[in-house]
Symmetry: C2
Subunit: 185 residues, 2 copies
């Protein structure tokens, strides 16, 4: 049996899936070991701070992805409408049309929130603000843009909850379609 050498970055996706599916409390080291294929030795080598550090790394990883693929385009893209359309497409792809859940959203519910309050709050605040910026650049009034962006961010989270609850990805797809119409893209 060959010993495979990993690095920290490699395990973040698998780690993310575990926290996504089980939440922070539910993600036991046993599950984490099974899903990452790493033993405790490696896990605590990469994350000396244990589960808490793992969760923080996952949150940072997710945040980086959204910053690159969604928030920055929303803030900086010349074509604001195109950036908004891109956000919808990226959201649909990332959450696999509602089959995948939002780790950050899952952490927001439950007392886990306190522990990761900054990362959780920041992720959503920046999404809301980036979208508001894009809407303003697309010609909306500032107040309307703020309202609309908050509504959009919250609708995506709600769509994830509802589509998972009734076990029907069509719920998520329909919600994104309505969102496109409301956002005018």
């Amino acid at each position: 049996m060959a010993k495979i050498v990993h690095e920290r970055e490699d395990v973040l996706p698998a780690l993310g899936e575990v926290f996504r599916e089980h939440g922070f409390e539910g993600a036991s080291l046993a599950i984490i070991q099974a899903r990452t294929g790493l033993g405790k030795g490696s896990l605590y080598h990469f994350f000396p701070g244990g589960k808490e550090e793992m969760a923080n790394a996952v949150l940072a990883h997710v945040d980086r992805w959204f910053e690159d693929e969604v928030y920055r385009p929303l803030r900086e893209d010349e074509d604001a409408a195109a950036a908004i359309a891109r956000m919808i497409a990226a959201t649909d792809a990332y959450f696999r049309s509602g089959q995948r859940v939002c780790v950050v959203g899952a952490f927001a519910l439950g007392e886990t929130r306190e522990r990761f309050a900054f990362a959780v709050g920041d992720y959503f605040a920046r999404w809301r603000e980036a979208l508001r910026d894009a809407l303003v650049r697309a010609g909306r009034a500032p107040d309307a843009a703020a309202d609309l962006s908050e509504d959009a961010v919250l609708s995506i989270q709600g769509a994830l909850v509802l589509s998972r609850a009734v076990n029907d990805t069509a719920v998520f797809t329909r919600a994104l379609a309505r969102l496109k119409a409301r956002l005018g893209v």
Copy 2:
């Protein structure tokens, strides 16, 4: 110290808060004992099936409340618009303007869902259908009513996630205000 005699029904609210705040996995017997004021003896006397039975009892309790206060009025009230307005008010009160989270929604995310799939799915499906009925009675076209009701249910869940994530009840209040406007009440 007097020995106080409880009955099953009495502990459901406290039990509900525990699952609400900690989720199913995070709700340890130790926490449950502390919050309900009941020892293991009483707990397993009332709920021989352990945590799973406690969670099912909580879900049923919540379901009953919504059935009585929200779903039935939506289905049966002569004045459909009034029933919808009542739904908004009941929702705001129940979730304490976003300070309280939805147990059913919290269970929907995470692998807990599988275990309580029926209760979770049913709760949301009935909410959506009851609201659709009311909207049709209020004069909407069936298709528009179905779309609008799905959007409303999911917006409430999303508002709970977002308001908790950014730690701001104003998010929830604004979301309900937008909802009232969209539902025309």
